[in-house]
Amino acid sequence: MLLAVVETRKIFGGTTHLERVFFYLLALVVLVVFFVGLGLRVKKYMAGRPLDAGRFRRARVPLEKPGVSAPIPLTQTGVDIAANRTVSRRNHAVGGAHLLLFWGFLGLLAATIIVGLDYDVYGNLTRIFGGKELSFFKGWFYLAYNAVFDTAGLAAIVGAVLLAVRRIRDSKSSVELDYTRAQKPKSGYSRAAMTAGDHLFIFGLIFILATGILLQGLRIDAAGFPSFERWTWLGYLVAAGFGALGLHGSTAVTAHFWLWWVHILTALAFVAYLPFSKALHMISAPANLMVRDPGNTRRLPPPPPGHAGYLDFSDFTSKELLGFDACTKCGRCHSVCPARTGGAPLSPRDLILDLRQYADRKRGIPMVLDWEERPDQSGPKNLEGRLAGEVIEPATLWSCTTCMACVEICPVGIEHVPTIVSLRRSLVDAGEMDPTLQAALENIATQGNSFGKSSRMRARWTKGLEAPIPDARKEEVEYLWFLGDFASFDERLQEISRMLARVLTSNGISFGILYEDERNAGNDVRRAGEEGLFEMLVEKNMEAFSKASFQKIFTTDPHSFNTLRNEYPAYGLDKPVMHYSELLASLISQGRVSLSGLGKKVTYHDPCYLGRYNRVFDAPRSVITSAGCDLVEMPRNRTNSFCCGAGGGRIWMDDSVLEERPSHNRIREAAELDVGYFVVACPKDYAMFSDAVKSTGNEGRMKVVDIVELFAEASGELALAGSAPEEAPES
């Protein structure tokens, strides 16, 4: 009798009916564990606060900026996930390896689902209803299946091995992989279980992938190398290897039998382990990327209803809780954080891990390894203590400069900054803060500026100008110039403000100021956690705007720029808001001014709130290059710019506890470039870096200059600042 060759294979690796029953019972248990685990997590998210326009979605406000605060379309997020773009960012090697594992694993997942559909669904349905068990897992489909998914298997194992090698090789040298806490608990702690969890995950995955490939080889070897199995190219190669080692016939059959059970049991164990481990990120990370909201950090969310800041688990939003679960401990936030770099007790990674552990413990969700251990009930183990103050130390919360470097680089879309501010709000509500911050907030509350000067002195810097600046409250102007506190009150910056005024006047720009009616815009007040004061400042400024007639606003201060541009629209501001760098760049691009080449070699520092927050990268650079300067980029530039350390209210707090101030770190970075000028476009930067140049001993080698100083010098009308001011500043 002739039998036609049917290209297929046996699915179930066991032999007896008992084995079959055992497998299916075990699979059922595993699926129950998996879905219960997942269910516990979903229930945790649902126990969080919903956002206003949906559980995970926030209501939009007018004047959203595409690429800045506007929501990211789901199609783009889909592409980001599919291409692992967020993982590849600034690290293509890890991203490439992860992409191989990602698609390889998805391929193998699809392969498993297809086999299950054929064997368990189609096979059973046809047996029960048709009387004869059928299968589509044969013929050309079988061949194509094997050819495609062998490729996936190879991709997955190559990716996984590369990632494992990197993790072992770099475990000592990489800041990202160093699990040492930034904030050291008094009682001590151990993160050995976290490391063990990482190793279990990656080596477990490699083990499952490798046994799967070996199984293919053993099966083909045991079957005597049927020629159609050449399509199962990877398995065939492995089989050839077994053959060459002399493994044949019944030995191969026995080896296949046992390895099949080993593979199946570890794979099932992996499914059960997934919701309780780092492996959860396979689900939580893409889910979190889909709900990420760039507007969330640029425009901080309001406090939870009924109280000022976060007090308990129930104050976290569903979105935040999902974000905590998405963290893979990749450490990129830890590595870029200026607070952590400077030796402050804050690491965005540790904060998220602490909050995740706290949330899981609160909800009674266990973790397999992946937890930090402590001998006492402090930190995330403190389930009864104050969330802001005990679970998370005040010093940790106060260390944040809100520079957004963590949010920017997080590959899974966690938004650390809004959570930090929500926790800070509780500290402010309890009056717990640095005395210098308290003094600044009190000054802002009484006089509207952090300098503690009379609000009537705000426009004092205009004295000494040849042409008085129009009062926008009294005459109509095209641009309303919003200076901010530093440009108005700091003596070093007043000279630069006067220079900008002269440049704009001589170029025929119609602009005016609010004189004593301008108040601190409140960007940093809000980020320090003083929401009520922020709202009061918004009311005062909006009232001043309503008294003035203008078409657009431009600011000196990038911080004011951010809040006016992204947060004030929710309070009714409907005018476009620009930064002065954009105004200067437009003068150049319109050909309204001709600049002569200065030939200076300079570098440029992207201010966090101008660059990363608002994506203004090119305008200041165009001013610099149009002024004929040779721009040498900082190693960390544009979205990867390194904070000066002044943001989020840090400028009002004590920095003396830091090992290295972020501004010093930045100046040392610039000093490597052998440039004479450190160009800034932010008054706080000017102040911070002028100090840092002095205290790092780079005075005489490098000078901090504002872009308007370059502009003024290149336009030939005005001398470079640093020469004697035309009139001594008022004391």
Partner: protein, 255 residues
Amino acid sequence: MKIVVAMRQIADLVEELEVDASGADIDREFVKFVSNEWDEAALEEALCLKEAHGGEVVVVGVDDVDFDQTLFGALAKGADRAVKLSCGFEGWMPTAVRAEILARWLKDEAFDLVLTGVQAADDLDGQLAGVLGARLGLPHAAVVVGLEPDGEGFKVTQELGGGVTLTSHATGPLVLGIQAARQAPRYVPISRIRQAMSAGGIEEVEVEAPPARAPRVTRLFAPEAKGRAEMLGDKPSEVAARILELIRAKGVGVS
């Protein structure tokens, strides 16, 4: 324990104060008025005592410019009652008059302690606690830096200067001028002040202004600039040399 805290508004010293046309008062037209910082210390001490030992804190003062702000701030910090004494007084109020108004209200109140700031920008001699104590016929003390309940009365610590402090025991009711509270005055978030404002709760009491039995200001002067600070330069060696030179020139005995 019932603690009354007497508070007052003063011109914010960050403002450029000017003498008005009469020549006998500051120009109050555009000046911002803020709470006297020593009164804030008195309030803080009262709140700390209340938190430690229980009781009631009542804040009271004459209806100065923007006094409501201070009262709402005090309520937001944890004061139980806020009382504003209206008397229709215009211009600068001499401390003796202020004490008299406060005394007229206090005579109908039961209390264990009256705390007020040891001094104010317009009461640099720190008369308020003393005058008020005398007017009420109660024991009083000034420059108080420590206050604890002690048996029937209170243990009161005063700073005498030169690093010397004096601790005494007094049975109440007492009137004390507070130099410093046990901790820096707490921050009260604006949202809490706004809650206090929307809750209202300031009691207004009409008190007849007494005849001013106080010296009358005849003329105010802006401070005269006297000499200027001399910066001694940047180099430590030069600075040291200059200091030596100055010490020799001014006749301090170095040979």
